[in-house]
């Protein structure tokens, strides 16, 4: 289990190192605009290859500033990361509870016996409405 965690951390460290490496070795040095987007570079290449080409359609909505654009990108990442975190939280909890409820020995039965009073309590909670009818 400990080894598992270590491997996961090493994987994350490797990804971080790969992202930092280009900055550390100065890959962007000597460039007019270091570390621009590849899509912007492609646009430049297009205007070089076809100087007469005019983009014939523009975005329906354009973020009014770089700050707002980065906010929207952060929002996209946050939605994705938030859901992933939720998923692993659910999966991990479900996994932890599974041995107790699926067990066929004593702990399993105690877990099951906990369920019965629980559902009885549920019925009691619904009770107040029942007598009047």
């Amino acid at each position: 289990m400990k080894r598992n965690v270590l491997i996961n951390l090493l994987l994350l460290a490797a990804v971080a190192a790969l992202a930092v490496l280009p900055l550390a070795i100065g890959s962007g040095e000597g460039k007019e605009e270091p570390f621009t987007g590849a899509d912007a570079q492609a646009e430049t290449a297009i205007t070089e290859l076809a100087p007469d080409y005019e983009p014939w359609f523009s975005s329906l909505y354009e973020p009014p500033s770089g700050e707002i654009e980065s906010a929207l990108f952060a929002l996209q990442a946050a939605i994705g990361a938030g859901f992933l975190g939720y998923y692993f939280g659910v999966a991990r909890t479900r996994n932890k509870l599974r041995p107790a409820s699926a067990g066929h020995t004593a702990p399993g039965r105690t877990a099951a016996s906990h369920v019965v009073p629980g559902s009885a309590a549920g019925r009691d909670a619904a009770g107040p409405g029942a007598p009047t009818s």
Binding site: N4, I7, N8, L11, L12, A14, V15, L18, A19, L21, P22, L23, I25, S27, G28, E29, K31, P34, F35, T36, G37, A38, D39, Q41, A42, E43, A45, I46, L49, A50, Y53, P55, W56, F57, S58, S59, L60, Y61, E62, P63, E69, L72, F73, A74, Q76, A77, I79, G80, A81, G82, F83, L84, Y87, F88, V90, A91, R92, R94, N95
Partner: protein, 225 residues
């Protein structure tokens, strides 16, 4: 990094849209069937889409001195097969085209063709090949995610080279140019995506083994972690 809005001539934009449409339609059918037949996997399906969402939002520097972002399509293609990933990838592209002015509506067909169709299929192919050859799960997952990521941008380069051939070097000349911009930049990012996908599958193996068995990614005997 996708083809920007308006940067494909109308004829090309229309052709790629027509080419991508049947794949997306087929994907919707497969996605609905997947949800109906295996409702327990709905949450994992959402997580695969979420993974694609996160990775597509992360612009990472590369050794070429420019930035690009991974695609996150390898994971869903391996878990749920490429047609389902086609739908999830297209949704991500649509979100970015509408809200972020990243990619575009006119280029959605072309971008979906590269990122949501060819990428996932190539990645799934690489994953299947490694497993058939007796490779382990994680090695195959790395290969699948790496290939899905890199092939996406090779297709993007080819799409642009088709639309804007080099006056001197023709299609190949332009392909070299766009390939240098997209594909070479993408190599370290594809490695990163491979490693992150391996990490997620490792976490899935320890928390969601039953789902992985149901999706036939794991076999009954391989559960021991």
């Amino acid at each position: 990094m996708h083809i920007a809005e308006g940067f494909l001539p109308p004829l090309h934009a229309a052709a790629w849209t027509v080419a991508a449409a049947p794949f997306v339609a087929h994907g919707v059918v497969r996605l609905n069937r997947q949800i109906k037949e295996n409702p327990e996997a709905k949450l994992l399906l959402g997580a695969s889409g979420a993974f694609c969402f996160v990775l597509s939002a992360l612009k990472i520097p590369s050794v070429t001195g420019s930035c690009s972002h991974p695609t996150g399509t390898g994971l869903g293609a391996i878990l749920f097969r490429p047609p389902v990933m086609t739908v999830l990838g297209t949704i991500t592209l649509l979100f970015q085209a509408l809200l972020l002015a990243h990619g575009g509506i006119t280029t959605l067909g072309a971008n979906a063709f590269s990122m949501a169709i060819v990428g996932p299929w190539a990645g799934y192919g690489a994953y299947t090949l490694v497993r058939r050859l007796g490779g382990g799960l994680l090695g195959a997952v790395f290969a699948g995610a790496f290939v899905a990521d890199l092939v996406t941008y090779c297709v993007t380069s080819a799409q642009l080279a088709l639309a804007f051939p080099d006056p001197a070097g023709g299609f190949t000349g332009a392909l070299t140019k766009f390939g240098a911009i997209f594909a070479v930049t993408q190599i370290p990012l594809a490695v990163s995506e491979g490693l992150l996908t391996v990490l997620v599958v490792r976490l899935l193996r320890s928390t969601s083994a039953a789902e992985l068995i149901r999706l036939r990614v794991l076999k009954e005997g391989q559960v021991a972690s």
